[in-house]
């Protein structure tokens, strides 16, 4: 069978043939070949598949691909000249907000959704924004610090 849909990912248009039951995660990874988006559980339990759809963080393993048709999708690979994404990447690198890197794309996407709505989140707001993302390496501390650093970068603050 299969149906054809258009996906707008990182400001690029992709025309793909999909099955109705295929998840957005599967299509992004296997059909479009953007493997930065991970999958760790396929049950909405780990968040490593998180992408941003129309400005909001969603689990790409819990969204069927056809649901994303026509929507604006951002993955960790990102689009050129995205200042916010660049700041988040820098924050994670400077503060050591990752170890094995497997959960990182999901965290970066959740951070993107958070900071685009709330550029100066409190520690508590950061924690809440990340409840849907599991990390097993870092104990989260440096991830929170990374987002705080990214927040400083976008608001032009100097580092102490």
């Amino acid at each position: 069978m299969g149906i054809k849909i258009i996906l707008n990912i990182n400001s690029k248009r992709y025309s793909v043939d999909i099955e109705p039951w295929e998840t957005l995660n599967h299509v992004i990874r296997e059909k479009i070949g953007l493997t930065g988006t991970k999958k760790g559980c396929e049950t909405g339990g780990c968040g490593s598949c998180t992408v941003v759809v129309d400005g909001k963080a969603v689990y790409s393993c819990m969204m069927l691909a056809f649901q994303a048709s026509g929507k604006d999708i951002l993955t960790v690979e990102g689009r050129d000249n995205d200042v916010l994404l660049a700041a988040i990447r820098k924050g994670f690198m400077e503060m050591g907000g990752l170890q094995c890197g497997y959960c990182t794309p999901g965290f970066i996407m959740s951070a993107y959704a958070l900071l685009s709505m709330n550029p100066k989140p409190s520690r508590e707001e950061i924690k809440e924004a990340f409840v849907g993302n599991l990390c097993r390496c870092t104990g989260y501390v440096k991830i929170f610090e990374s987002v705080e650093r990214a927040s400083q970068i976008i608001s032009g603050d100097k580092r102490e």
């Binding site: 493997t35 559980c41 339990g45 690198m93 094995c100 599991l134 440096k142």
Partner: protein
């Protein structure tokens, strides 16, 4: 064996610096390469048919419907596996080693989730649908789920060929326990149950195997933590010589020990590829991971503790039973690995340990962060608290009383381990100060009057690093393993850059970065000029049979190999420079990418120029100097096999950590909420604080999770009740407390740069939290036996108390 701490001739630029990690650069862009990110032409996808029952004879398997599904290419059956491969070598001794261990169930299934067959299909979805169509007819057998019963009153035998359910039985006797028992004022009895859990790395196990018939060459991309250690397994099971097998790892999404026993899946998928003659990829689902990858072993302790009334702990008389599941795949190594830290951080002189490992109808056990030392440390740190409670002493006092002191370092334990250096009392003092301990104890008592129950927990554990493989000989003298060694290949390329290939197999420990820091430091070049190859490759990387990342070994072993390689290469560079510059070597120094004379600044040559000469103009080299600038270095930690009394130093470095935790118990629901968390960690010389802090935080998070949330629970039929992240509860951002970290930086006199291995954290957090909960429960006169404190269990204990709190 001891090498002294190196003194570098100038102010350090890179070692000790919180350098951004090289790995981060790709991961923040989604450019990491994990097994599932790799595709090969003609690649098939595998799904695995698995046992629904814990213990049953397989009467019949019908593959016909599955084979008929369009898109199914082939099925690897148990018959195929038996025909194509030999049983996996066993670490244990007869009769337990009589087990015929195949990567699929042959004749009977022994745990829920045990592989039965592999479907290779054009897509993953087809493979999964085909698995659903495989019909297995079982004849159920009683399931062995209780380790003590497995030993004393077995409902069945997991392996008939063994004749019992005993996987291994060992006795170690250090000091003189009988004397200690006689000299004691009291003997305190303790029963503890270290539960079953794992660190559940976020990247599941994954294998991409590609067998080329024309070349008789197998190439495998996998996320095993120590492929070279597994070569004998691969060799036996796949019937291929080492030089016909290539195992490659790239980025690995967390390991924590859980990705050691996945060699079984490496073999299984390799066999599938060998059968179909096409590349086959298998990526584990989360449920498969929970059911059938690797669980940390359960251990039941019955301990007698001879003590003096002043709180001195004289000895430990231990009877323990490990529940290692259905196969001995890395276990029963846990019966020896704990011996790295026999007395914990304490001056305990007499230890007798009678240990059993048993087979049960559960997922095979394997290493998990703090392998075997975490359960042992759990026991010791619970013992310290229980001794304090029984003697009506403060737990901090009892620890101070028994700690090995700085003055006694290096300290030789009763079984010959040599604790390198550290200040355990000081680490506790820092924790107590941070908690405002004395005041807090007063406040605790006042709050009891208001019906509020806070608990304070402390614990000190050792994270032994760079282990001595000779310890497995205490279990099985025939095993061909001793010491620990690691390899590094270092090249100065003709354009003046560096390439490093390590035998270590990192899973997020930033070996690329830390190794670059060392090379950059020694050659005084920017770290950007140093490329450390990602991952490991048996074809292109040097290795030993110990290579890999496990046992907190990188800081000594990986660093040692790289540091030695750099020294060798540096010596050659200086020799060449001396010849070319016509300057005595003692006046040559490496500075800013050049070799310069310290007395005549006109004499200088860039590394780039020197390297071009080394590769391109051999006639300009000194006589007896080979062209090229490639060195391979093997570093050996100098540890030897145990003597007949089972005495030897079993690890090179002994980092340690003391944790302090405060929390409050809600007696109405049993929920314990952590309100303060303090860590003191001593990792010796810190090469990169970002990396070390990350390991400290991560280990703490795992320990807290194990104490509060995570458990693999089986029912009486051997069905796993927690097989997804919905049932198996790993902690999320808001579930963990803020962590306050302090460092002591007492270098190891034994490791090449003074660094001590970290990462496993010895399970400090786990027992610190359990101690805190038991402390909160103390007014109720009750105590947890298990190492997990669910609210329900706490609630039950509180409800059980008689009368009002004290």
């Amino acid at each position: 064996m001891s090498e002294t701490v190196v003194s570098l001739e100038r102010e350090k630029r890179f070692i000790g610096s919180p350098l951004k990690t090289k790995e981060a650069l790709r991961h923040v862009r989604g450019m990491g390469k994990f097994v599932d990110d790799i595709k090969l032409p003609g690649m098939l996808h595998a799904a695995i048919a698995r046992s629904q029952l814990a213990h049953a004879k397989i009467k019949r398997i019908d593959f016909s419907k599955a084979r008929a599904l369009p898109g199914v290419v082939d099925i690897l059956t148990p018959e195929d596996v038996v025909r194509m491969s030999d049983p996996l070598p066993q670490m244990t001794v007869p009769p337990a080693s009589n087990v015929r261990d195949y990567p699929v169930a042959v004749g009977k299934v022994r745990y829920v989730g045990e592989p039965i067959a592999v479907v290779a299909a054009e897509t993953r979805a087809i493979a999964e649908d085909a698995v659903e169509l495989i019909e297995v007819e079982y004849e159920p057998l009683p399931a062995v789920v209780d380790a003590e019963k497995a030993l004393t009153d077995p409902p069945a035998l997991v392996h008939e060929e063994v004749g019992s359910n005993i996987m291994a039985h060992v006795q170690y006797s250090y000091g003189n326990i009988d004397k200690a028992m006689k000299e004691a004022d009291r003997i305190i009895k303790v029963r503890l149950h270290f539960h079953r859990f794992s660190s559940t790395p976020l990247e599941p196990n994954a294998v991409l195997a590609s067998y080329d018939r024309s070349e008789n060459m197998l190439t495998v991309w996998c996320n095993n933590q120590e492929p070279s250690f597994m070569l004998p397994q691969f060799n036996s099971a796949l019937r291929l010589p080492y030089n016909r097998m290539r195992f490659i790892t790239q980025d690995i999404g967390g390991g924590f020990g859980c990705k050691i026993t996945n060699y079984v899946y490496v073999i299984l998928i390799s066999l599938a590829s060998m059968k179909v003659g096409r590349p086959v990829k298998w990526v584990e689902t989360r449920t498969e991971h929970m059911l059938a990858s690797s669980h940390g072993a359960e251990r039941i302790f019955n301990v007698e503790v001879p003590v003096k009334n002043d709180g001195t702990v004289l000895g430990l008389k231990i009877l323990s039973i490990d529940d290692d599941g259905a196969f001995a795949r890395h276990e029963p190594a846990g019966l020896t690995v704990w011996a790295q830290v026999v007395p914990g951080a304490y001056r305990i002189k007499h230890v007798y340990s009678d240990m059993y490992a048993v087979f049960t109808n559960k997922c095979p056990a394997g290493p998990n962060r703090g392998f075997a030392r975490a359960p042992h440390s759990f026991m010791i740190e619970r013992v310290m608290d229980i001794v304090a409670r029984e003697l009506n002493l403060d737990p901090a006092y009892v620890r101070m009383k028994n700690y090995i002191t700085r003055e006694e370092m290096p300290y030789t334990t009763p079984n010959g381990c040599v604790y390198d250096d550290g200040d355990y009392p000081k680490s506790l003092s820092i924790v107590l100060d941070a908690l405002n301990y004395t005041e807090l104890r007063k406040k605790q008592r006042e709050l009891w009057k208001e019906g509020r129950y806070i608990g304070i927990g402390i614990a000190t554990t050792l994270d032994s690093g760079a282990p001595n493989f000779g310890q497995v000989k205490m279990l099985n003298p025939r095993l061909p393993l001793v010491g620990n060694a690691e390899a590094c290949m270092l090249q100065l390329t003709p354009d003046g850059r560096f390439v490093v290939r390590l035998g270590t197999v990192p899973q997020g420990q930033s070996h690329e970065t830390v190794t670059s820091q060392i090379i950059a430091e020694i050659f005084d070049v920017p770290v950007e000029l140093v490329d450390v190859a990602t991952g490991f490759d048996t074809m292109t990387h040097p290795y030993t049979m110990h290579s890999g990342t496990y046992g907190s070994r990188y800081a000594a072993m990986g660093v040692g190999a790289a540091y030695g390689a750099a020294q060798k290469l540096r010596a050659k560079v200086l020799r060449i420079a001396s010849h070319i510059l016509n300057e005595d070597q003692s006046f040559l120094a490496l500075s800013n990418g050049s070799v310069v004379s310290t007395r005549d600044s006109s004499k200088s040559i860039s590394l780039k120029r020197l390297s071009r000469i080394a590769y391109g103009m051999p006639s300009m080299l000194p006589r007896d100097t080979e062209p090229g600038l490639i060195v391979v270095n093997f570093y050996y930690n100098g540890l030897v096999e145990p003597d007949e009394r089972k005495i030897a130093n079993l690890a090179l470095t002994y980092s340690y950590q003391t944790h302090g935790v405060v929390g409050e118990l809600d007696p109405e629901t049993g929920k314990f909420k952590i309100t303060k968390y303090v860590i003191v960690d001593d990792a010796g010389r810190i090469i990169n604080p970002l990396v070390v802090d990350g390991q400290v935080h991560g280990a703490a998070a795992h320990g807290i999770a194990a104490a509060l949330f995570e458990e693999f629970r089986y029912d009486e039929n051997g069905q796993l009740l927690s097989s997804t992240f919905v049932d198996y509860l790993s902690p999320h951002s808001v579930d963990l407390p803020d962590l306050e970290v302090h460092h002591l930086e007492i270098p190891s006199p034994f490791s090449p740069l003074g660094a001590k291995g970290v990462g496993e954290g010895g399970g400090t957090a786990h027992v610190a939290v359990i101690n805190a909960i038991n402390d909160a429960l103390s007014p109720f006169g009750v105590m947890l036996e298990k190492s997990i404190a669910t609210p329900e269990e706490i609630f039950r204990l509180v409800a059980k108390k008689s009368g009002l709190p004290l």
